[in-house]
Point group: C2
């Protein structure tokens, strides 16, 4: 894994690494489809105006322009840029296709996104995200906030990664609490609280006091709230013990209690209430999610999201939604760098059909076709080299079986790992199920 990508921030995998990524992608897709999510892809480009609608993120955007177009200087709202996430494009897609979708609409979307950030471990310029969202027309039952946490917990549990912790908070709870103690600049407080893990409570208190004019008591109360983290619904009593009263706080408490009550039952230990979770982006309006790999917290969140009540709208019709996004490239990079999992071989091929002589290529293709017809991946040797060389060809690739057809038409198959060789019939022989396709196996 010491290989460097030739362009910093744009990782590329070797074939055996790509098998691990494919395993992750296939596992996510299957989980999402088992839960009834439809696949959607959006174009890689959006207009700059669409991308910058939410502000704050313009520095990360890659603009796209015709190389031969003289007019590249002025990047107007109509000019194009690569999407930096899948939420903004999906919101546009929902508005454009609302007449063709059945709401609540549940979709998954697995695509590359691009951000012009400084590359570092866990942060690439081109990376794959896997998103699920449920979007309603006008209204969306709260239960989807619970369901999506459970779907993500199930999806992540199926991956070859260490224990994870899905940390959940609620914006209403936080905003109501801050208001209850007299702090009304919610985005400002959230931005400060968001820095808790990086700069520690003392400096966050300083920020609250100097930048938001909080009193020592207000700062302390805000930090007390952010310090609450429970695996069950006991956070409710701990918040109440802080003695703050506000109707929005009550609403948020009730919502988060519902999520944690159900999730702690169905995914015990995987889902916790963490009242420090803030999420930078400003469109979340209720539940917010973050996820860390236990023991790899410094990697940052591997799956984040939340509830948004008005990300998309069309006239006075609004589309509230709730969704999460898995950082696939971040996860795969860590799986590979820490050897959490590896592919059992580097090629799909289970059987190499050898050539006894140069005229037997067509007959060898018949054998291969018979095996493939039963779902066995097969290659045919291209030239009738000595058998030793043909076996070495298979060995170098980790192909487990080598097929021989003698000039009188007798077939034998050899397991080159054990050396065992026996007669075989192309119309019925099958490798052990574990050898049929490369498997991605947890290591260590």
């Amino acid at each position: 894994m010491a290989r460097k990508s030739s362009l910093s921030g744009f990782p590329e995998w070797l074939p055996q690494e790509r098998l691990v990524e494919l395993h992750v992608l296939d596992t996510l897709r299957r989980t999402f489809e088992l839960h009834g999510f439809s696949s959607v892809e959006t174009r890689a480009v959006e207009t700059v105006g669409q991308l910058l609608r939410k502000g704050e993120i313009d520095k990360e955007v890659y603009a796209v322009s015709r190389l031969q177009d003289e007019d590249t200087g002025a990047a107007g709202d109509d000019s194009l840029a690569l999407h930096f996430d899948l939420t903004v494009p999906f919101a546009r897609y929902v508005v454009e296709n609302a007449g063709h979708l059945a709401f609540p609409f549940r979709r998954y979307q697995i695509q590359k996104v691009w951000r012009g950030e400084r590359p570092q471990e866990g942060r690439a310029r081109e990376f794959t995200q896997a998103d699920i969202d449920v979007v309603g027309d006008g209204a969306l039952p709260f239960r989807y906030d619970i369901e999506l946490a459970l779907v993500i917990a199930e999806a992540l549990s199926a991956l070859p990664i260490p224990d994870f912790q899905l940390r959940i908070n609620n914006r209403k709870l936080a905003e109501g609490f801050y208001r209850g103690i007299g702090l009304t600049d919610t985005p400002g407080v959230l931005r400060s609280i968001d820095k808790l893990e990086k700069i520690g409570p003392a400096k966050v208190a300083e920020l609250l006091k100097t930048e938001l004019g909080a009193t020592a008591e207000q700062a302390e109360a805000a930090l007390s709230l952010a310090g609450i983290r429970t695996e069950d619904t006991s956070f409710v009593d701990r918040v109440r013990a802080l003695g703050v009263e506000d109707p929005l706080l009550e609403e948020g408490l009730a919502e988060l209690e519902q999520v944690i009550a159900e999730a702690s039952k169905r995914a015990p230990g995987k889902v916790i209430a963490d009242l420090s979770i803030a999420r930078g982006l400003d469109y979340y309006t209720g539940t917010v999610y973050e996820t860390v790999l236990v023991g790899h917290e410094a990697l940052g969140s591997i799956c984040s999201g939340g509830r948004y009540d008005a990300l998309a709208s069309k006239g006075n019709r609004t589309f509230p939604g709730v969704g999460l996004s898995i950082g696939v490239t971040r996860l795969v990079t860590r799986i590979l760098s820490q050897d959490f999992a590896a592919a059992s071989r580097q090629v799909p091929t289970a059987v190499l059909v050898t050539l006894a002589n140069d005229d037997s290529w067509s007959a060898a293709q018949d054998v291969a076709a018979a095996l493939r017809g039963r779902g066995i991946p097969v290659e045919v040797a291209a030239t009738a080299e000595k058998f030793g060389k043909q076996i070495k060809f298979a060995d170098r690739r980790g192909i487990p079986f080598v097929w021989f057809t003698s000039e009188d038409g007798a077939h034998e198959v050899k397991d080159i790992r054990s050396g065992e060789q026996s007669a075989a019939d192309p119309s019925s022989w099958t490798p052990p199920v574990d050898d049929r396709w490369p498997a991605v196996l947890p290591q260590g």
Copy 2:
């Protein structure tokens, strides 16, 4: 299918259309893997220098730059652009990773590519290609030229498309023939011949005479060659009958004869020798392939490629290869616009578990989990609306089965198409195999 994409040349599919695309992609992937091709993905961007190495195509390239970067004016060789095919990036990948790959290396690559061309039917600005290539280190047996034609014929045969015709020619044959009649500007002749289908033989003859200085006899001979198209190896005699002698012509004839002899046996009617096939790009050195949908020839080639002896090189080490590229978006666009195939439903979900009352959501999740554990895609209703409304929810999505659990815990499942309803056990009930997942079925 009357929907217009909101950005011309950047098609996006509705969920039920995406199911057709996924079916195409899954089918291609499975065929390629059954033939031992490894999956590779390369980054979306290349340096401009890398992309323009082969010249001629700069007008189609989309440059990429940081939106906030002041220095976008001068696009140097190191600046970035979106790849316009998968061959150039793959060549770079092979050179960069040669030490980690086992040669001959066979890979498939399914990714989006971008070209700043004027959009029209069958020609998008963002589209998906599915490529297979085999690349050798120093040398590559000719047999791969035959094998790749067979793999592509098998892959295309598995798709819900009309009859196709894989048309094959050989650059050596053409070049040797032209040389034999005294025309030495091979690229020039090929460019003229390439226009045959568009402008007709008379105008091509004019071009050959005015632009390349051909005599009437030379033009006639070149057109006679281009007029040869056979389903078997009889093209060899027809070329010989033209009375031209050249060693390169003989080499090309022998190669093409091998391809057609084997392919006409293994994929009869699907693969033909067509001596008019030229292929614009200049890196092909032997076999060249094009593919048309019969009855849809105006759509252009849906799968093209060829043999290249020196696409990639590293010092004095060269990597010859042979490969083909399927235009997935072009195919899917045609499948959808002509209703060649459609998905049997618009969502993955086979079963909607209804709620008898609002407290039964968690119990409904238990039922859903039991079914999903057996690979059945399931959704749970979010609210305990009247059963009629919950059934309508399923009906609108084409979900075939609705599950009811009464307050005393009895389970029943209803096929909402037939109206049949019967007792069911969550731990054993299974839908008919055809209903489990949405199927993509050929139409009409």
